[in-house]
Symmetry: C2
Subunit: 217 residues, 2 copies
DNA sequence: TCTGTACCGTACCGTACGGTACGGCGTCAA
DNA sequence: TTGACGCCGTACCGTACGGTACGGTACAGA
């Protein structure tokens, strides 16, 4: 096994090309993803595919990891956490997450992971879960707790607070997209949704209650 | 084509047996569902299967319809709608819906619908969407609007209010279950979640604001 | 009793896809 | 120059599954 120079990345550039082909084929339709199709589109041989990724599941797993490594959201500013900065950070989180889950790539990948989760082996669902729902939770919770210590938020259980925020942001968007609802989210709608969710979250958990009627829409 | 006596039901008793077999196989694992397996388990011939349901997609579609016809939630009481009755109705809706989406059957069926939604044909996703997310919306919205007219709730857009309720109830439950998270929801947890979501919903949209701090968990 | 019908069980067909084998080509180091 | 290596392209294999055909049986009506 040769020591390569791209040690910080999990996959070689050529392998990344292949994985991007997988993503593209996945977006075009689940059943278009055959090993032969990947090999042809990526201009590589099936033998190489099997050598690099083991089998079909290995290829899918690598693809999920590759995609996950591409969507790492920015962190929040740890300094001067006032109400405004908190609100900005929450909105940014929400907008980023909505953008991710409404992307065609994410929808396609979640579809294969969900389909796979029914069939026992090669825990794709677990990987997607770890890099999606759980990862965002682990990144957001410190912010929530810092806000609580700063006296900006009021809650007992961080997990409950986070899950509520999650629900307010996502609502029915993900399940509708997964089921094929032609729901299009423009940048403006995403921004508006992120703002609304943040507003509602403040109403529920904010230490200083805003004026009533603020969250009617 | 013989006129049968079960005209109010979409499927004959024998056909319902077959569809229940499909559901059972689906729960046991997506890839266990082959036409041969269905025929063997249901003690019928594949020829009959194809005669009744056309093809594999037809069988799946019929199964989704059959399951949808089994989960029709109870309606709310149209009379004397006070704050208490409204709260009870919302909690009942929430608990019923959480029970449905956390059932193994629902998870399995949503998985096949989602897998299918990626592959163009035989709009299973649309059927599930129509009988799930959209159906519950159409049943809940009249209650919300009646409550608004009774001065119990305050909102501009019924859809927005409903979707918020949807998010508060479901949060991350459905996506986690679909992705294979071993999340178990006991009756007690479901009841608690329904109550919490209803409480939070009242905080956001209730005409009379409850005391602050009620929704901290 | 005869005939038609609906259905079960099973054998069969075609195909598509995962996985393997192999020949050929470019590259690099000795 | 030569040999080893990595990779491309393609041909090939086995199998599993969707879909069809067909013989056998039970039953209903004439």
């Amino acid at each position: 096994m040769e020591v390569t120079t791209y040690s910080e990345t999990e996959f070689s550039p050529r392998q990344q090309e292949v994985l991007d082909v997988v993503l593209a084929l996945l977006v075009e339709g689940r059943d278009g993803l055959t090993m032969t199709a990947v090999a042809r589109r990526a201009s590589c041989s099936k033998e190489t595919l099997y050598k690099w990724f083991g089998d079909r599941d290995g290829l899918l797993t690598a693809t999920v990891r590759w995609q996950a490594s591409k969507v790492r959201a920015g962190n929040w500013d740890r300094q001067h956490l006032d109400a405004h900065a908190l609100s900005e950070s929450l909105e940014a989180f929400a907008a980023n997450w909505l953008t991710v889950i409404s992307s065609r790539t994410s929808v396609a990948l979640n579809r294969v992971a969900i389909a796979d989760a029914g069939s026992g082996k090669s825990d794709l669902g677990g990987i997607v879960l770890a890099n999606g729902r759980l990862a965002i939770g682990e990144r957001l919770k410190p912010l929530l707790e810092a806000a609580r210590e700063a006296g900006l938020l009021l809650f007992d259980d961080t997990e409950v607070a986070f899950r509520t925020f999650f629900g307010l942001v996502g609502r029915d968007v993900q399940i509708r997209l997964l089921l094929g609802d032609p729901l299009a989210m423009s940048r403006a709608e995403i921004a508006a949704d992120a703002a609304r969710a943040t507003r509602q979250f403040f109403t529920l958990f904010g230490a200083a209650k805003p004026a009533p009627g603020t969250n009617r829409n």
